[in-house]
């Protein structure tokens, strides 16, 4: 390199640099591509989509369970939903039922939090 006085030789060296740098960047891209599928699949697996859908469904169902005095079905079911999601799904689930004093609406506040994903919803009925 010390004696590159010839123009053509300088061009050859320059092209060598350019080619080696592009190869270097292609190698980096190839290296990164191996982890892409894994991280994506992990992110999808860890997102508790079905847990949230399930607990939301059962909470809404529980709002329509009778609560007559012999069995206290509704309050039993609702307390069991809270403790089951805590112990089996590692999620804090809470919900409450508010009636609009000026209209027929019921507002159901649903909260879900498993430490990574939080979900809040206000479900209105009717």
């Amino acid at each position: 390199m010390a004696r590159l006085t010839d123009d053509t030789a300088q061009w050859i060296v320059l092209m060598g640099f350019i080619v080696s740098f592009s190869l270097f960047f292609l190698a980096i891209i190839l290296n990164q591509s191996t982890v892409v599928g894994q991280t994506t699949a992990e992110a999808v697996s860890e997102f508790p989509k079905e847990d949230i859908r399930g607990v939301r469904d059962v909470i809404i169902q529980s709002m329509f369970v009778d609560n007559e005095a012999t069995f206290h079905n509704q309050s039993n079911v609702q307390n069991e939903i809270r403790s089951l999601s805590m112990s089996r799904q590692n999620a804090v689930v809470n919900f409450s039922d508010t009636t609009d004093p000026h209209g027929p609406q019921h507002y159901y506040y649903i909260h879900y939090n498993n430490g990574v994903t939080a979900y809040n919803e206000t479900w209105t009925f009717p």
């Binding site: 010390a2 699949a41 697996s45 079905e50 012999t70 403790s83 089996r88």
Partner: protein, 166 residues
């Protein structure tokens, strides 16, 4: 180093050394990826398939107010019916041979004293040997049933299924 040629050689040497050092630094610092990029893709697909199958079983017959098949199975503790139905939804394929997914099912409920208990709804369809790569799926139900050590009346229960490809 009085002549300029020598200085040029020195500079070249220093540059080459720096490049080599940088290369070694990058190589030593890089971490190897021992897992394949598609490691968890299978799990993800298995989870989706299982969730769909179990959800199908938790839907009452079209246009009826009956209980869902899953609720009835849990209320009657009918592990055989669970196996037939779940296996049918999960493993049937359009080809000639069925798929080979294996599963076991538990039902979790809350006892009278507030503790959570799990009972076996369906024992494993094949003995576990420890190398299975199982995924976990679940489905909520409200059953009218007296569980062991629980009061009669309606209760929330969680059907949990472990699912693995054999």
């Amino acid at each position: 180093m009085v002549n300029s040629d020598g200085q040029l050689f020195t500079i070249e040497g220093v540059a080459a050394a720096l490049i080599m050092l940088a290369t070694v630094y990058i190589v030593v610092n890089s971490t190897s990826v021992y897992t394949h990029g598609d490691t968890h893709v299978n799990d993800m697909q298995l989870e989706v398939t299982g969730n769909d199958a179990l959800r199908m079983m938790n839907i009452p017959e079209n246009g009826s107010v009956n209980k869902s098949p899953l609720t009835e199975i849990v209320e009657t503790d009918d592990g055989a019916a669970f196996y037939t139905s779940f296996n049918h939804i999960l493993n049937n394929r359009t080809g000639t041979k069925p798929d080979t997914l294996q599963f076991l099912a538990n039902v979790s409920y809350v006892r009278r004293d507030g503790t959570v208990n799990s009972t076996t709804l369906l024992d494993m369809s094949r003995p576990l040997y420890g190398g299975e790569h199982a995924v976990h799926i679940s489905q909520w139900i409200i059953v009218d049933k007296k569980f062991p050590e629980a009061d009669p009346g309606k209760h929330a229960a969680l059907v949990e299924v472990l699912l693995w490809r054999d």
